[in-house]
């Protein structure tokens, strides 16, 4: 287990050379990747969301592609389309793969794309395949969609429908760096010094091994029951939530907790894992009710209350 911890420590250290601060964000993205899930990063512009994902992709020997979402983006711009190819005097239709055919897909500002385009990612995220016309194309493993969105400038945006949001394992909140961190960021990017180049630390075999090991991490019965009760409470607790989380959240919480345990070098899931990951797992899966919103209660506050009650 110490070896695994060493791998993740090295990864974080390497990312830290380019991305100052944001350790928690990078850890959560790694959790999503080890748990074989997708992540949605939400934060104000300029908080190194895209940079973090790009750097992480650079550290792994994985195919990376980026989709900049705009209202006029078409589904075929993501999945790919048939083009006419002329060879030997003959014209044939050839499938031109879209950016979704990669290992890590960064869907930048996903809420700027139309629902039709957003839903093009749906099949890819869940089924790991793309259907164009009558043909279904399997996506290469591992496959992650790491999407970003910002909570401001909501005009002209299309908030993700619940069904699609549920397919993201984690919704990671990107916060502002501390004063000291910001000082370091400014020093790094204004001194004219060269931005360090990343070296590849992991390949897809390593990643798939880490994914299989993370599923082997054992969990105590009472901790598992607590996790399930927590998810169940989002459905039962009508004073906060209008809609609760689905069983997909239960699966996600356990898988993500196992992945976190592995990243932390622990060979068992702790209550701390459940408590830490309850926020990114639940915050996009529950819908607050009118009364809670009237009181100005945020989703994270409600989850905190739930964690206090479900012991």
């Amino acid at each position: 287990m110490k070896n695994y911890k060493h791998i993740f420590d090295t990864l974080q250290k390497e990312i830290g050379r380019v991305v100052i601060g944001q350790e928690a964000i990078i850890e959560q993205v790694l959790i999503a990747m080890v748990a074989d899930g997708n992540a949605l990063l939400e934060g104000y512009p300029g908080l190194a969301k895209t940079l973090s994902i790009k750097t992480l992709a650079d550290l792994m020997d994985l195919k990376f592609s980026r989709i900049q979402n705009t209202p006029d983006l078409m589904p075929s711009d993501i999945t790919g389309t048939y083009i006419i190819e002329e060879s030997g005097g003959k014209r044939n239709f050839k499938f031109q793969k879209g950016p979704v055919f990669a290992n890590i897909v960064l869907a930048d500002e996903i809420n700027r794309a139309t629902p039709k385009t957003q839903s093009a990612l749906l099949e890819a995220m869940q089924e790991r395949q793309v259907t164009v016309g009558n043909t279904t194309y399997k996506l290469e493993e591992p496959f992650f969609v790491l999407a970003t969105q910002n909570p401001i400038e909501q005009e002209g945006t299309y908030p993700l429908p619940e069904a699609q949001a549920d397919r993201f394992l984690l919704k990671i909140k990107v916060v502002y760096p501390s004063f000291e961190e910001e000082q370091k960021i400014v020093d790094l990017y204004t001194s004219g010094a060269q931005i360090p180049k990343m070296r590849v630390l992991l390949n897809r075999q390593h990643l798939s091994h880490l994914q299989s090991v993370s599923r082997q991490v054992p969990i105590a019965k009472d901790i598992k029951i607590r996790a399930l009760k927590l998810i169940e409470a989002t459905r039962a607790k009508k004073d906060f939530f209008h809609y609760g989380a689905s069983p997909r959240a239960s699966i996600g919480l356990i898988l993500a907790s196992k992945a976190r345990a592995l990243i932390k070098g622990r060979n068992y899931v702790s209550n701390e894992d459940i408590e830490t990951l309850a926020f990114p797992i639940l915050r996009h899966r529950v819908v607050m009710n009118f009364e809670a919103e009237r009181k100005g209660l945020l989703v994270d506050d409600a989850i905190k209350e739930l964690l206090k009650k479900v012991k």
């Binding site: 969990i219 105590a220 019965k221 060979n267 068992y268």
Partner: protein
């Protein structure tokens, strides 16, 4: 995995025996306390063994039902969550679980059995047992009894005891002298005094224990069948002819004696 299952069995056995020991002490205190109360209120004291036995069974069952891993974790925070997880996944075989079992087995080597025995509490409990035993002995030796439940029950109005098996008629035979008296003295107070139990202590006297050799046959004495003349002289019928004799008390003497006792009673 087999090795770890043995570790689990050993941990369970040790914790179970400590639980049994602790519950045994608790039950003994409970029994002695009940015994003392029974002695003081005049109940049959050995009945207190029944609730004490029930107390022992219930508390021991609840103790056994507890998670042994949790008990160990409470004493050893370095095993927190780890031990529970290893116990729950003892039958799972994979790289991570094997690593966890190995780690837990190593950590369990530092677990001392004595850490589960609260010496202070055990000392208090043992002292309480000794103290209770002394109090019971003293109460028995001096015959200390605050109330007599049997007597209270016998004095309850009939409508309260009816059907509950508490009425004197339904149970034991009432003590001699209890109830209404119709004799010539006719005083209720006197009748009640007669209802009280009398404790008779037989004082030990000097005596010799005779060995078998010192026993001898009592001497045979032949009695004469003839009555002394002094008895037979007043009897005109003659000795040996009458089967009974009647006391001839003058009526005035009898009246005198009766009046004497009536005056005393007044």
């Amino acid at each position: 995995m087999k090795g770890f299952l043995r570790v689990i069995r050993e941990v369970n056995l040790v914790i179970d025996s400590i639980i049994v020991f602790d519950m045994l002490l608790n039950s003994l205190i409970f029994f002695l306390a009940l015994y003392l109360v029974s002695v003081l209120i005049g109940l049959y004291p050995f009945y207190s063994a029944i609730p004490a036995a029930m107390f022992f069974i219930i508390t021991t069952y609840l103790g056994f039902d507890q998670s042994k891993a949790l008990l160990v974790e409470q004493k050893y925070p370095n095993l927190n969550e780890k031990l529970r997880t290893a116990f729950d996944n003892a039958y799972v075989e994979n790289e991570v679980v094997d690593d966890l079992e190995e780690e837990v087995t190593d950590d369990l080597r530092n677990v001392r059995v004595s850490s589960f025995i609260d010496r202070k509490k055990t000392a208090y409990k043992t002292s309480a047992i000794v103290a209770l035993c002394f109090v019971i002995l003293l109460a028995a030796a001096f015959g200390i009894r605050f109330i007599d439940v049997n007597l209270l029950v016998s004095e309850l109005p009939e409508f309260l005891t009816a059907g509950a098996g508490l009425s004197p008629e339904s149970g034991d035979t009432p003590a001699a002298g209890a109830g209404e008296s119709s004799d010539i003295y006719g005083k209720e107070k006197l009748a009640e005094l007669g209802a009280e139990e009398i404790e008779i202590n037989l004082a030990a006297m000097n005596f010799e224990v005779l060995s078998g050799a010192s026993f001898r046959e009592p001497p045979e004495v032949e009695f004469e069948e003839t009555f002394p003349d002094i008895i037979c002289a007043d009897d005109p019928g003659g000795c040996g002819n009458e089967q009974y004799s009647e006391e001839k008390t003058p009526v005035e003497h009898a009246e005198l004696v009766k009046n004497y006792f009536l005056n005393i009673a007044k």
